[in-house]
Assembly symmetry: C2
Homo-oligomer: 236 residues x 2
């Protein structure tokens, strides 16, 4: 287990500010987890009302991003943080950008619930739901890793993305086969396909956040490294 102690500052007010911005990231993360869970539930129970609520709530996600971004800029200007504090601020700025876009994807996923599906099509949604639960778990785990600055947990999320990619390929193949058999269903099934793509992107973004955590704790930029190199760097 590799964690980081961020609580050694000269100024206790600086401590409080850092703590507050971290709490805000967790609050934003919690909102997005809820949005994604609601989007999946809206599809599972054909609940158009809940889907509309997810779409409306995306404004709150956007507000969080801007708010936290300003807090980070203010801390840099006022406190001139160095070393690990500056890394934390940089990691937060990048993380909230990915979180905001996960929020956008949740909104896109919710739109599938505004369609109505026949029973054969409902069967296709089961795999979509499984994939959705899988990326929701990744999101939960990466936020948890962020809260605890836990490199091992971040690496586990990073590895998980490969499984999501395989799930996505399987769903894509299944949906294309269905469209070939029932071409009239194409416009509707395309929406399911976009939604699967959104989930795949959520996996990618959770992986990005996992990389920021490694950068933050280890001071090594592991973006775009292959998996093996990443794990090596993160553990050295």
């Amino acid at each position: 287990m590799d964690k980081m102690n961020l609580t050694k500052h000269i100024s206790s007010q600086f401590n409080e500010e850092i703590e507050q911005v971290r709490n805000h990231v967790m609050a934003m993360g919690g909102l997005i987890e809820q949005q994604l869970a609601d989007a999946l539930n809206a599809i599972a129970s054909s609940d158009a009302e809940l889907a509309r609520q997810v779409i409306a709530n995306d404004l709150k996600v956007n507000d969080w991003e801007i708010k936290i971004d300003h807090e980070c800029t203010r801390i840099i200007a006022k406190r001139q943080p160095a070393a690990s504090d500056l890394r934390l601020i940089m990691a937060i700025i990048k993380t909230i950008s990915d979180l905001e876009r996960i929020g956008d994807e949740a909104e896109r996923i919710a739109k599938v619930a505004l369609e109505s599906f026949n029973s054969a099509q409902q069967d296709l949604l089961v795999n979509l739901d499984n994939m959705g639960r899988h990326v929701a778990q990744m999101l939960h785990d990466v936020l948890d890793a962020f809260a605890r600055m836990d490199v091992e947990a971040a690496l586990a999320v990073h590895r998980e993305d490969r499984k999501v990619d395989r799930e996505y390929e399987a769903i894509t193949r299944q949906l294309m086969t269905y469209m070939m058999e029932d071409p009239r269903s194409i416009p509707k099934i395309m929406n399911v396909l976009w939604s699967a793509r959104s989930m795949e992107r959520i996996g990618d973004r959770c992986k990005n956040v996992a990389e920021y955590i490694v950068f933050l704790v280890k001071g090594k930029d592991v973006r775009h490294a292959d998996d093996e190199k990443l794990e090596q760097d993160a553990r050295s």
Copy 2:
């Protein structure tokens, strides 16, 4: 015309560092413009070799992102910039993240050139090419606006994205109709559809960069604002 003068620093070395990082952003932008142009040319002339080159070159784009990111962090730690300098650094950090992802989309677009299309399908590619040229122009214009810190030019790019969205919807409809008429073509046409989606996303990302320019020059965060509010804020 609303521009910004960034050349008044106490330290001339600071000036040079800021100038260098701006030049690097422009170099990265130039590389991505080339990548997108090559991807479009690869599709237009069915040039698989060129497509493979685009895919291989994406590593260089990634290297630029990491390099510029480190430069920005170093400037913050060493120079403790405030006000407009800090806004510039923050805008650069966000811009290169969008540029890197435009590079990813160019790579995805290039993959279409690895497919072979019959003559009816070639006709479908004409609209895709037009949309590609359109977003390539947006990318060029927003990089130009960035170089000159030109708010009006940034606003023009921002407006242009609505046209790209409409083009994308038209292409999607056309491709779906084609797939319904020739279901066996679905897997191949899906790749064209993903490519159109990538272009639409490039438009979105150019719009993001346009917003960072407004933020940088005017000090106002205009992300997620509707178009009218944005133009009002940017001009006040």
